[in-house]
């Protein structure tokens, strides 16, 4: 799976949230840590539900965390 058109600021938001670990985020979202790694590296586009959960974990709206770049 090549790079997706869905870009994100997950790394920055994790940093802002007291260096939240990928495992902590994965536990909150209900996915594996490897999936968070793939999303963060923009190699996998999460489902809408997972994207909302990630944004909610940071207390941010969806479009603050994810954006689409054609």
């Amino acid at each position: 799976m090549s790079k997706t058109h869905v870009k994100n600021n997950i790394r920055a938001f994790r940093f802002q949230c007291d260096e939240m670990t990928q495992q902590q985020l994965a536990d909150q979202v209900g996915v594996t840590r490897q999936t968070i790694v793939a999303i963060e590296k923009e190699k996998y586009s999460p489902s809408l539900e997972a994207a909302f959960k990630i944004a909610a974990a940071f207390g941010e709206p969806l479009d603050a965390v994810f954006r689409y770049e054609p």
Partner: protein, 146 residues
């Protein structure tokens, strides 16, 4: 390497399937081509399949015991894509086999295929398609992780 449970599971199954094919098919094709002894092929098949099951059960139990056996949406997507690749391999293999059987009955110059040989080719096609599925899973997991 940092791997999820599903990826470790795919690696184990891929290696087990490779070992099964390595041991089984040279002997099975030899039996089907030369001795044509159905009971010998049957016992070889049972032995290899039981061996494969034992290896899989032991390996998957060890992997499950060392971490959580959870899966998520990415695992499901990778599984779907891998199943699609496996389906293509299976379809191509079966069409080739059916075409070969039809050609043998249509062209007298071709040597007819025995029932045992056809059975071994069907097993071979099924094994290759399963191998393609597992290899695809490993590939998709590694590409994402890289």
């Amino acid at each position: 390497m940092d791997m999820s449970f599903r990826e470790k599971s795919a690696w184990g199954s891929l290696i087990a399937m490779g070992l099964f094919a390595y041991w089984f098919f040279p002997a099975a094709f030899d039996i089907a081509d030369n001795s044509n002894d159905a009971s010998e092929l049957f016992f070889l098949s049972v032995g290899c399949i039981v061996g494969l099951i034992i290896i899989e059960v032991v390996y998957q139990s060890l992997v499950a015991a060392t971490g959580s056996a959870e899966s998520d949406e990415r695992d499901a997507l990778i599984n779907l894509r891998s199943e699609r690749n496996s389906g293509w391999v299976l379809a191509i293999g079966l069409f080739w086999l059916v075409g070969h059987i039809v050609a043998m009955s249509a062209v007298e110059a071709l040597e007819p295929m025995g029932g045992l040989l056809i059975a071994v080719w069907i097993l071979f096609t099924l094994t290759v398609s399963e191998f393609a599925k597992l290899a695809s899973q490993v590939w998709y997991y590694r590409v994402d992780a890289g």
